[in-house]
């Protein structure tokens, strides 16, 4: 029998539903693992042991009384520390908000609690979800569990690390320019950036309003689907929230397990990874394995041409930096020294963007969205790698102006459609590689179905990082 920390959220959920597993035992296992391992991984900023234990006991009692709430009941879910939590410190991993204690939960946190989830930890992030892997903040940066000398990347670094290391079965991340998918790829887990407007951002500290997305991170695509079943839906308190029918995410996974990918048409954006930003051999090999697997599962695949990857960079950078400057200008002009060096530089760089440039970037974005959707006409999804290569040494600057882009994330922050990263292989050194599956707006269920099928076909979910206890 597998140890609890090796099981996916979905498997743990089924055990809890059948009363083969107590939420209290599961939480105790998570906390013991955090205490044993996180000294060397730094994924947890704040451990909420007593509160979480009370929540787990309440879940256990409810389930015993026959009041099972659904797949997240009794499941520990960590929160990137930009999710506001009532009465619990929410720092954005920054000295600026070191003592910030919100009065209310973010909408997504409320939904998780209503679904019976247990919240045991607030998790490390790049400062304000932008600052990079920094050593000059009040807390150290998270480290990659596959090799602690390597970077998990970010910004949802703690979420990816905690899940990959089996310390938590699920976590919340946020994605403005890849911050869910990129660390999911480098840490070998699944991370889903939902369609813009499908999951509320109310109470999630903003970085860039028109690019920010809140979403789940977990060991498998199926786990993300179960979390999406709780998280998705209209929120009148988020002005960007869409009023659309919520797809049956778990049903789509079940459909995929019955019928594979037959009937689905998937485009391969080959020019992204072969010409625009040539990828490393392990990434290219995993892509070809994934394409073969999808074809064997019954999907129809063909190459598709999107605008060149570099075309998305200029409007993406202008919009992201202008909006994040608008969020932070008052704090930065008051006292920029409270930020870490990376955060200070990246946020302040938006100060010189003019209103005209911002609007031209939004116009160009509209054109890119139209061209992206046009290229996806007749397709259910498109695929390309999440990252150009595997994890790099701690602190390497993947956002700066030097060198080729490390990730293929920006397209769907601009376009708004769903984009999932799943683990589709390993390098010869044993480092995980990620496949990105993106869809048309609100087709999140199809993207998750494809991700689940690929994970199962390639067998990548059988392999966890090997970790030794580190107490400091």
């Amino acid at each position: 029998m597998s140890a609890l920390h090796d099981l996916s959220l979905a498997k743990l959920s089924r055990r809890i539903a059948s009363r083969a597993l107590s939420p209290v035992d599961l939480l105790e296992s998570c906390i013991a693992r955090i205490k044993a391992l996180d000294g060397g991984l730094n994924s947890v900023l704040l451990l909420l042991e007593e509160r979480a234990m009370a929540e787990a006991r309440a879940a256990e009692a409810e389930i015993a009384a026959g009041n099972y709430r659904g797949p997240l009941h009794g499941i520990p879910i960590g929160l990137k520390d930009i999710y506001e939590t009532a009465g619990i410190r929410t720092t954005a991993h920054s000295a600026v908000l070191r003592d910030h204690v919100p009065a209310e939960d973010a909408t997504t946190v409320r939904l998780l609690r209503e679904a019976g989830a247990v919240i045991p930890a607030k998790l490390a992030t790049w400062e304000f979800a932008i600052g990079g892997t920094s050593f000059d903040l009040p807390w150290p940066p998270a480290r990659n569990p596959w090799d602690r000398r390597l970077d998990p990347t970010g910004s949802s670094s703690g979420s990816a690390v905690a899940v990959a290391a089996g310390m938590l079965p699920g976590a919340m991340g946020s994605d403005t320019g890849g911050s869910i998918r990129n660390p999911a790829s480098w840490c070998g887990i699944a991370g889903h950036k939902p369609t813009y407007g499908l999951v509320s951002r109310k109470g999630v500290l903003p970085l860039s309003w028109s690019l920010d997305h809140a979403g789940p991170m977990a060991w498998t695509a199926e786990d993300c689907a179960l979390m999406m079943g709780v998280l998705a839906g209209h929120d009148p308190e988020d002005p960007a929230s869409a009023q659309v029918p919520v797809p049956d995410f778990a049903g789509a996974i079940a459909e995929g397990r019955r019928h594979g990918l037959s009937g689905l048409r998937i485009g391969v954006v080959r020019h992204f990874f072969e010409r625009d930003v040539p990828c490393t051999p392990p990434v290219l090999a995993a892509m070809e394995d994934s394409i073969l697997a999808m074809r064997e599962l019954g999907a129809e695949l063909r190459d598709v041409t999107l605008p060149a990857y570099g075309d998305y960079a200029a409007p993406g950078n202008i919009i992201a930096r202008a909006e994040s400057w608008a969020v932070h200008d008052a704090w930065l002009t008051e006292d920029a020294s409270r930020y870490g060096s990376y955060g200070r530089r990246r946020l302040a760089s938006g100060a010189f963007i003019t209103a005209s440039d911002y609007l031209h970037a939004q116009r160009r974005r509209a054109v890119l969205i139209a061209r992206t959707l046009e290229a996806m006409e007749g397709l259910d999804a498109i695929v390309f790698p999440t990252a150009r290569g595997t994890a790099e040494p701690m602190g390497v600057d993947t956002v700066g102006p030097n060198g080729p882009p490390a990730f293929f994330a920006r397209v769907f922050n601009l376009a708004g459609g769903p984009a999932l990263s799943v683990c589709n292989g390993f390098s010869p050194e044993g480092l995980p590689v990620g496949l990105q599956i993106a869809g048309r707006p609100f087709a999140d269920h199809l993207v998750l179905r494809i991700g689940d099928a690929v994970e199962r076909a390639l067998g990548t979910r059988m392999r966890r990082p090997v970790l030794e206890e580190v107490t400091a």
Binding site: A314, L332, A361, R363, A366, G400, G416
Partner: protein
């Protein structure tokens, strides 16, 4: 020799002052590189586009109702 042209410290400090910002000396060079990247991005987005490309389309797209 890195091959990179030296940054114009006076110019970048002037730009910072114009927005009421101050930055430690060691931040100036990497900051200037970021600003140069954004200046180039701004130049790129100013290239002509079809008249119909309106930013409002972006804001409407994610909603279907």
């Amino acid at each position: 020799m890195s091959g990179k042209p030296p940054i114009d410290r006076t110019a970048i400090e002037q730009r910072l002052r114009s927005r009421g910002l101050r930055m430690p000396d060691e931040d100036l060079e990497p900051f200037a590189e970021l600003v140069a990247m954004l200046d180039a991005a701004a130049e790129a987005v100013r290239a002509p586009l079809p008249v119909a490309a309106e930013p409002a389309n972006v804001l409407m797209l994610p909603r279907t109702s």
